[in-house]
Symmetry: C2
Subunit: 409 residues, 2 copies
């Protein structure tokens, strides 16, 4: 994507695009009282739908359900609960997911096959369906296109997230104003293997399901597949996009300027949301960009970038603001990709730390300064080819351990 493309950023998330309304309510799944845990999204007309999901071999019931909905290419609504992932729950879990869709469809006057379902929270416990159904009824009553309703929606999807992560942009496609917006939840169990966490995107663009799928796949590869907090993939990872055509543009059905413009807007929103996930990573105090260049292949570059981004030793050094570049080079050398120390260069925050097998003649104080920034930039050139990859991650703090050791099943 050329860097010069600009979009008009807007307030709001899932309700920024025309024709979408949302709600978020507290129905008692989460133990803390009056905490929102049930979210509902509705389009006032039929939508093209596309999704990318966890590649894990034990996906949650909701992922199986959504694959079927997305397969049909059409949807109207999304119902989400937090506080319980409805994963590793067997047949009963599948029945409960279907019941969530049926309850929402009943309230909204839709066919259950038009309703996507997502769940997040603790694994291995059955959903309290009486609470879920009561929540769906209340949420359906509160649906609204206002920004505040979009905010309530995202709040009701959050677990260990500490900030609300939404984004929307506006652009012109075929002389029509088109909006792409969305929200994301996720802070732990974030790994780069596929669309991580729950992300809901809406647009009023008119676009066919197949074309929407292509745009989403490209956007997810450039965003959610480039982030990692702890290298763990979830059972529930879901990215959904609903396109309802309310903008009135000529329906996008193939490649061309209109598709390019839409795909860029979607990628822009996805990259923004993906980076927000890392910044809100469990216990994170810093944002880290790992850029690998000069790898023998793109695949090698990705292996090295992911290896560095997932190294507890590297992440702890970044947390401590310690320019321990030896750990970074060591991880690059140890992760299986082609590597030659004599050809490798490492820059931290633009400052040369290591080149051609030996430390650079950079004063330690200068390296300390760039390592102590809140945004740390690691650029490693392997000097072997044209392979490139970028990963975004966060540091590893005592707070991460506290969150994950004290979390209760």
């Amino acid at each position: 994507m050329p860097r010069s493309v600009r979009f008009r950023k807007m307030e709001g998330g899932v309700t920024a695009a025309g024709g979408f309304s949302a709600a978020g309510v507290a129905c008692g799944i989460k133990t803390r009282k009056n905490t929102r845990d049930l979210a509902l999204l509705l389009s006032d007309r039929p939508c093209s739908v596309a999704g990318v999901f966890t590649t894990i071999k034990a996906p949650a019931a909701s992922v199986l359900w959504n694959r079927a909905v997305v397969g049909s290419g059409a949807a109207r609504a999304v119902v989400v609960n937090s506080g319980n992932a409805n994963a590793c729950t067997g047949k009963r879990g599948e029945q409960d997911t279907a019941a969530m869709a049926i309850a929402a469809a009943g309230e909204l006057g839709l066919d259950p096959g038009q309703v996507c379902v997502a769940s997040t929270g603790v694994i291995g416990h059955p959903l309290p369906m009486d609470k879920v159904v009561a929540g769906v009824i209340e949420a359906a009553e509160r649906l609204s296109p206002e920004d505040a309703a979009g905010a309530a929606f995202v709040d009701a999807t959050m677990t260990t997230d500490t900030v609300r992560k939404t984004m929307a942009v506006r652009t012109v496609i075929g002389r029509r104003l088109v909006t792409v917006g969305g929200c994301v939840k996720g802070a732990g169990m974030i790994s780069p293997q596929v669309a991580t966490m729950l992300c809901f995107l809406t647009t009023d663009a008119a676009i066919s399901p197949a074309t929407l799928r292509r745009a989403l796949k490209a956007a997810a590869d450039a965003s959610f597949n480039c982030i990692t907090v702890d290298g763990d993939m979830s059972t529930n990872d879901t990215v959904l996009v609903l396109a309802n055509g309310a903008a009135g543009n000529r329906r996008i059905t193939r490649s061309g300027p209109a598709f390019e413009q839409f795909a860029r807007a979607l990628e822009f929103v996805c990259v923004h949301l993906a980076k927000r996930v890392v910044r809100d990573g469990e216990g994170a105090t810093k944002f880290v960009e790992v850029r690998v260049r000069g790898a023998r292949t793109d695949r090698d570059a990705r292996t090295v970038a992911r290896g560095i981004a997932n190294s507890p030793l590297v992440k702890c050094a970044i947390h401590g603001g310690d320019p321990n570049w030896g750990r970074i080079v060591c991880r690059a050398a140890g992760c299986g990709a082609a590597f030659d120390p004599a050809k490798t260069r490492l820059r931290i925050g633009g400052v040369l730390a290591y080149a051609r097998g030996v430390p650079a003649h950079t004063p330690l104080s200068q390296l300390q300064k760039v390592m102590q920034r809140q945004d740390v930039d690691l650029d490693i050139d392997l000097g072997l080819g044209k392979g490139r990859a970028t990963m975004w991650t966060c540091d590893l703090s005592r707070e991460y351990v506290t969150i994950n050791a004290d979390y209760h099943t």
Copy 2:
């Protein structure tokens, strides 16, 4: 190895076997005053030598040197420094390693090619060679076969280790009493890819270099290659064994009862030392055994065992004593090996937590009890085949982060 084989455990480490003497002195490489940082080991006669080393693509100068010594099959001495890994130090690092061997050879009246070298500590700084040479001279004067000298040796190899890890056993081979002993250092940057950390083994058995190599390879596969603290492989990982024949047994040169007995003793010592490394893992408060059975292949079993053992989420849950079995199943499902939730069973401390796609009907209190033990036992049966693997690891604590965030380069 049949479980019935027993060895007589002994006091001492590298000096337990006949004909070996050792020393450990403080020469000022480590910044803290009077902390031992230079170790020397000598056999009073020629030894067969074997070694296994890091597979990293940027090995330290000492690893390159030792590969050459081990290639010759014969050695007499080992010189080790801690406080500086002499890694990522280019040509100068190689010259410094050679100079260490030359200095030790000069003091001991040997050829430099008979001296193994090992270094551990910070990466990317040149060795202070004046201090190293002074240390070698002092250590050569202090060489002694006493247990205390063996203890001083291991102390001088330690970095973030909190306990001295030594082991020795005695057994009878060909009607001669044979001793196998050794020590290990290592607490962080421990990964299972190959012989991790520094381990020095000595034996008075008479055995040919090729046969010794075979025994060491098998012992390392069953021990050091089964442990992980943080999934990071080091630039300096080294396991060396010196066999000087002082026991007077008929030289072991091929398979047979004598070889089997020796190999078992060596494996017994290696497994003991490997587990000690994990127990002394950086910040570790718990010891974890991960056993995977029923995998489609041994390789799949190893992937799953390693995936679980390296998962920050699983390790934090164990730290907190929280029976969050969902994280364990999730990691097993997400690491790329063949997996079917409906065929999987997970036992924690012998108690069934998950079977056939759903939580077991085990009271939470019972699972909490086994998860809160100091030694946590995870047994996962994938129900797909005969593949097996075991990994040993530790929990992930706030202390781990403190150690690695505050460590200074």
